[in-house]
Symmetry: C2
């Protein structure tokens, strides 16, 4: 009774973020296709078979092509005029650049996180850190990487900046195809070094030393990049 006119021009915020998954068919297709590509279902540099994907997702070419255009804008695929799409393969130089940008964004995340992170959030990151440490001691790569990614993700989330999170997620998706995992196996020293860096990161976060954390995070990513590059 208090809202007789549900003003049709009032779509500013009411969209429930929790209901997002089922937003629309296009949105769903986009997510599905992105996953399909990021998961590595298509070979690196391979052409994207339009027709096959239409059958695979049971849709016509129109929505598929729309999704393809978006994915191209995101940098996951590239469009060759009159020749369709192909999985974009990142050159070593591209990967280097991506690592640096992600380093810059994580540095920013660290700084912002120090300004607003709660004790509870720090505690959660500490828990994850210790879990990661256990994996490190047992030399369990898979678990270690999972925790590692989770920690970095949590720092980004703790920054409380949606634009940052979105930008970061976009770049993370593009680099996911690059298997920079499994490289530590050949480089035990790097693994230990990374673990120590994480100790320092956590310490700076606890002290809420923004500038310091920012610096460490960037260098941490730089080191990660160097390690990945060396073993590639």
């Amino acid at each position: 009774m208090s809202v007789p006119l549900p003003d049709p021009c009032d779509e500013t915020a009411p969209v429930d973020e929790a209901t997002k998954p089922a937003a629309s068919l296009h949105e769903g297709l986009l997510v599905a296709l992105r996953d399909f590509i990021v998961e590595g279902s298509l070979a690196d540099g391979a052409r994207v078979p339009e027709r096959a994907l239409c059958e695979r997702f049971n849709i016509s070419r129109t929505p598929l092509r729309e999704a393809l255009k978006v994915l191209a804008a995101e940098g996951l695929i590239e469009l060759l005029p009159n020749r369709g799409a192909r999985i974009r393969q990142l050159s070593p130089e591209d990967v280097r650049e991506l690592f640096d940008v992600m380093g810059g964004l994580e540095a920013l995340a660290g700084r912002l996180a120090c300004e607003r992170i709660s004790e509870a959030e720090i505690a959660e990151i500490e828990r994850m850190h210790h879990e990661m440490y256990r994996f490190y001691l047992r030399r369990e790569m898979h678990g270690y990487f999972h925790c590692n990614q989770a920690i970095h993700q949590m720092i980004v989330a703790a920054a409380g900046n949606a634009m940052l999170a979105a930008t970061y997620a976009g770049l993370a998706g593009r680099i996911r195809r690059v298997r920079y995992s499994a490289n530590l196996a050949k480089d035990r020293d790097r693994w230990g070094e990374a673990m120590r860096e994480h100790e320092v990161i956590l310490d700076a976060l606890r002290r809420r030393a923004g500038a310091e954390l920012s610096e460490i995070l960037f260098l941490h990513l730089r080191n990660k990049q160097k390690a990945a590059q060396a073993s590639s």
Copy 2:
């Protein structure tokens, strides 16, 4: 003779970057539409008239809708299921977030620029700086802002990181609709302060003090944000 089979999978690089402008109709439309929106031809929060734009650009709905999807992915517009697109209006919070992310990216740019910038590039930035100073002395806002943007752009370019440049450009496009210009007029102190900050930026760049420049640039953007916010 050495290449009997022009391997159809070898489209890695030959695409001439200089010939890009006329890449394809879709690409052209995308640029045109983006400009059309960024330039402010559509009111903030207004619905995007699909049909009208089709006539405006003399194309059918299919390519237009593709472009719309891409623009939505870029964050310039938002898609309401079954209700079309509307110009995305940035909340003060969004703007705050954007400024921080751009600050983070410029901080990164400054750091990277210090690693690789040439004397010639520094000299060019210095020239622009002095030109900006002249505009400052004469209180010519328009020219001042032009130089200001050019300097920041040059620092990003000097970083020599295409991913960074692309990411930065994307965010810059989104914020262009926000008129944070003309705010210095009401705040002479901020103007002088900004000018002094630019002196420090240039100094750090000359000394190639990466971490220092990084810090200054981020804070410079923070101050810019505060000034914009205060006068809004």
